[in-house]
């Protein structure tokens, strides 16, 4: 991500314990919709909840390793990079996450950054 740490607003989202493995959670914040995943490894990943192909909701996709398959037309998306895997192309926005005292935080760009 090109957005620097200090330009992020960390927003408290959900309890880590209560997140189900490999099951996306839909999170809305100021008009943005994020799909948050807790992978089998325990790692967290958050991406924009819209597939670049036809706006499929990615939170409902099947998660395998570090990929999610869009439930609409099966585009395979690499969660850490947001890149759509071949033979398809495109990418989705990714979000930083952090875990503090059992709470998952999602990093959103500051409002002025969004505006620019």
């Amino acid at each position: 991500m090109s957005v620097k740490e200090e330009q992020l607003v960390w927003v408290e989202a959900v309890s880590y314990e209560e997140l189900a493995f490999n099951t996306g959670k839909t999170i809305r914040y100021q008009g943005e919709e994020v799909a948050l995943f807790k992978l089998s490894s325990g790692k967290l990943q958050a991406i924009q909840n819209r597939c670049p192909h036809k706006d499929g909701v990615l939170a409902e996709g099947i998660v395998c390793d570090e990929h999610v398959f869009c439930p609409m037309h099966d585009r395979k998306i690499h969660l850490p990079s947001g890149l759509v895997q071949l033979p398809d192309t495109g990418c989705v926005k990714t979000y930083s996450t952090k875990l503090q005292d059992g709470i998952v935080y999602i990093g959103f760009a500051k409002a002025e950054e969004l505006a620019s």
């Binding site: 927003v11 914040y29 037309h73 099966d74």
Partner: protein, 805 residues
């Protein structure tokens, strides 16, 4: 503006009107058109009369050009009027109602008349031909009063008429003078196979019978043959052939023999008079099929529009019998003769017969029975006189999915769309195959996305591989693996689950050495299904391995909202339930309420966070409209209300739906129960269709009305409603145990063969075992909507949306 020329068409049928339509497109405004027709109807598709008779279509459905078409195109139409005179010197025609119209050009498209055998008694009431809508109506009316029909003539038309009578609930004998039916289109083996198939449908054949006399008083009561025997009948239809209708032409002095003689531009012996269609005789041939008539019409239209045209040089004809459940194709010169050789395939197990006749390295004719998918391709080869000397002879007859069809894709241009879902062209696929060294359909799919969605183009992709790679491609060589994560096939995986006692999706992937540790969206749901199928009682369903719809228990829509379809057993509801649904729909602001094809109500556009609350208020079970599971059991009203019904289809449908609801299957399963052979619930195109017949029920298996329409095969006939359930249990359980994940019963029945499946379910010991295992599988199912309503964890994990501030 120059004066328009006057064009008069005599005969408001398919051939003439088609030519006029063509002409209007080529030269709008050139002619002022007047059309005369003896029938009261606008131009209709006579070929589809069989469907009207069979009850599948209404008269309105078969109209090609409605009355408005004539008005819009400025055509003067005189229906119910027969032209009786042509004055070729004054260039006028006169009708039986006294109208006289002058012409600059005249087209005669008077068609043909059915040939009526001049038997003694042929003038009795109840003796008729089968040619017009009127005939059709008479036959339909008769079926309400009478029980037994005889069709004289075992040709195409006769058989279609006979099938129509069966659909109308009449018994029918087909009388034919020879010992083989449809002998003009079929050789002996195909003819005998057809006869057998039609006998199975209930047709009775009286072959090598020469009619002598029609008996009865005022109305026919029977048909007497030359050998002295008599067959009873309340209605006799003669379908022994047609004669060109040339009365008018002869009277006007046109040369006829027996049809109106025309040259390669459809000109008759009289200037400015043309003839087209069944009444015309071109190079010694009068055609009775539609394709040649249209070819003639195209040439005539161009000629009249003064557009340059190649002459009409005759047609190679082909025939397809329009009788459901029987696939017959015949084209070109199919009879063995001097100098011809034939390739034959006769598979008595599958009931398939194919014969291709070859002369001088060219295919000149073909007969196909049971599987007519090669028909179009063979006709193209016949028409184009393809030299087959370089082709492997047996490949000519390989089925569509084989390399034999490669010649079909060879002719396609590079920009032809092969995969319509994803818009992938032939060029894209071929270059990917060459440049990336692809060797399987799966690889082409992964590389180009072709065949990824509905899968309907897989055979074409396979053909393209064969076409591009030549003999090095063998579609059967590559083992069909579950997906690219593994080298294992479906059977190997299921066997491993059983023998190694595997109990989790991850465990299967681990033990069998999956390439991707967590698999992919293709194998994970499949493994989840197989595990549940093998161990219904102990397996804990893995919701993360379920496709979105099956995990959420609702159908996801393109905007991420869902559709909700509650269960409505047998499509039967009541006012209280309807009110409740209406109230819930209002309370949740459901934007669209739609009736589904499976007789239920679909509430569309529901937000995921509203789903569980809505289900709770609906207080109805999930309809599984989203699942690889039993969807609906469609029913007609049956004997409770219908005057034709012989079985209580609603009650049976409800019982079946209650028995099998929530059952997981390899792919979706749709069922139907019809109260009589009119089949209003469409039992013929369901995974399992039940039809009430006199004294019992017929069960049809492997039908499909979707991507690839397939008519179900008769699985068995049973007597009681208990037996319906029992056989359905065995059938569905066998499908669950042997079907590939994602494979519909139509594909499964085709793969295993109906005979094999029938043997299994009719074997009492096997059937009982299957029923017992089905009972276990059904005993552990729970309503998923109720489960979500009752579990905070499920609601939170799957349906919650977190709004941050």
């Amino acid at each position: 503006m120059t004066q328009k020329e006057k064009l008069v068409l005599v005969g408001n049928g398919m051939a003439g009107v088609n030519a006029v339509e063509h002409l209007l497109k080529l030269a709008p405004g050139k002619y002022e058109v007047t059309i005369f027709g003896s029938e009261p109807h606008p131009n209709y598709n006579r070929i589809l009369l069989s469907y009207v008779l069979a009850g599948d279509s209404k008269v309105d459905d078969i109209v090609i050009h409605p009355f408005e078409w004539y008005t819009t195109n400025g055509i003067t139409l005189h229906t119910n009027q027969t032209v009786t005179d042509i004055d070729i010197t004054a260039q006028t025609v006169t009708s039986d109602k006294g109208i006289t119209v002058s012409y600059d050009k005249l087209i005669l498209a008077t068609g043909s008349n059915p040939f009526m055998i001049p038997l003694p008694g042929a003038d009795k009431e109840g003796v008729m031909a089968y040619r017009t809508i009127r005939d059709c109506e008479i036959m339909i009316d008769s079926a309400k009063k009478y029980k037994k029909a005889i069709v004289i003539g075992g040709g195409l038309l006769g058989l279609e008429a006979a099938r129509g009578f069966l659909n109308l609930g009449m018994k029918v004998d087909v009388v034919h003078i020879l010992d083989t039916i449809m002998e003009r289109q079929l050789d002996r083996p195909a003819s005998k196979m057809l006869q057998e198939a039609l006998e199975d449908q209930g047709m009775n054949f009286l072959l090598e019978k020469q009619s002598a006399e029609i008996i009865g008083d005022k109305r026919v009561t029977g048909l007497k043959f030359k050998d002295g025997t008599v067959a009873e009948a309340d209605l006799i239809v003669m379908a022994v052939g047609i004669r060109p209708n040339v009365e008018l032409a002869k009277k006007a002095g046109l040369e006829c023999n027996p049809g109106i003689i025309v040259n390669d531009y459809l000109q008759t012996s009289v200037p400015n008079v043309y003839a087209v269609g069944e009444c015309a005789m071109h190079r010694g041939v009068a055609y009775g099929l539609v394709a040649p008539l249209y070819e003639q019409g195209a040439v005539l239209a161009k000629h009249l529009a003064s557009v340059e045209t190649a002459p009409y040089e005759g047609s190679v004809v082909y025939t397809k019998l329009k009788v459901s459940g029987v696939d017959v194709f015949s084209g070109g010169q199919f009879v063995d003769a001097e100098g011809t050789k034939a390739i034959r395939v006769h598979d008595e197990f599958s009931g398939i017969y194919k014969k291709v006749v070859i002369k001088d390295n060219k295919i000149i004719g073909a007969v196909l029975f049971g599987d007519t998918s090669d028909g179009t391709r063979l006709m193209q080869m016949i028409r184009e006189e393809t030299d087959i000397s370089g082709m492997e002879k047996t490949a000519i007859l390989k089925d569509n999915s084989g390399s034999g069809a490669a010649s079909g894709v060879a002719d396609m241009s590079d920009d032809t769309i092969i995969c319509g879902c994803n818009g992938v062209t032939k060029g894209t696929i071929c270059s990917a195959i060459k440049e990336q060294g692809l060797t399987s359909v799966e690889e082409v799919k992964n590389c180009t996305t072709a065949s990824r969605s509905c899968g309907g183009c897989k055979p074409l992709v396979s053909d393209l591989l064969a076409y591009t790679l030549g003999t090095s491609y063998d579609k059967n060589a590559a083992k069909e693996t579950i997906c690219s994560c593994t080298e294992h096939s479906r059977d190997e995986v299921v066997e491993a689950i059983r023998s190694k006692g595997l109990t989790h999706v991850r465990e299967v992937m681990n033990v069998l050495g999956w390439k991707n540790e967590e698999g992919c969206s293709k194998c994970r749901p499949a493994l989840n299904y197989y595990l549940g199928m093998v161990n219904p009682e102990s397996y804990r369903d893995d919701s993360t391995s379920r496709f979105v719809n099956e995990r959420m228990h609702a159908n996801i829509q393109k905007d991420g909202t869902y559709s909700v379809v509650p269960r409505m057993y047998g499509g039967v509801t009541n006012p209280a339930e309807l009110k409740r649904i209406a109230e819930v729909a209002e309370r949740f602001n459901v934007p669209t309420v739609k009736l589904t094809g499976g007789q239920r109500i679909d509430l569309l556009g529901v937000k995921k966070e509203d789903l569980t609350a809505m289900w709770e208020e609906l207080d109805m079970p999930s309809g599984y409209a989203y699942g690889k599971a039993l969807r609906t059991v469609k029913t007609c009203v049956g004997e409770e209300f219908c005057r034709f019904g012989t079985g209580d289809s609603m009650a049976v449908g409800i019982a079946m739906e209650k028995r099998f609801e929530r059952l997981n299957t390899p792919a979706k399963v749709k069922m139907a129960v019809s109260g009589c052979p009119r089949n209003c619930a469409e039992s013929g195109i369901k995974d399992l269709g039940v039809v009430s017949v006199d004294g019992g029920w017929e069960l049809y298996a492997g039908g499909n009305g979707g991507v690839k329409v397939r008519v179900g095969d008769l699985l068995t006939t049973v007597k009681t409603e208990q037996e319906i359930i029992e056989y359905t249990e065995a059938y569905l359980q066998y499908y669950r145990e042997t079907g590939k994940y994602g494979e519909r019963t139509s594909e499964w029945v085709h793969r295993l063969g109906i005979d094999h499946i029938r043997d299994v379910v009719q074997d009492e010991a096997k059937r009982k075992e299957l029923c017992a295992r089905m009972d276990t599988a059904l005993s552990v199912t729970k309503d998923p909507w109720r489960a979500a309503i009752d579990s905070k964890k499920i609601r939170q994990d799957l349906y919650e949306v977190v709004e941050l501030t």
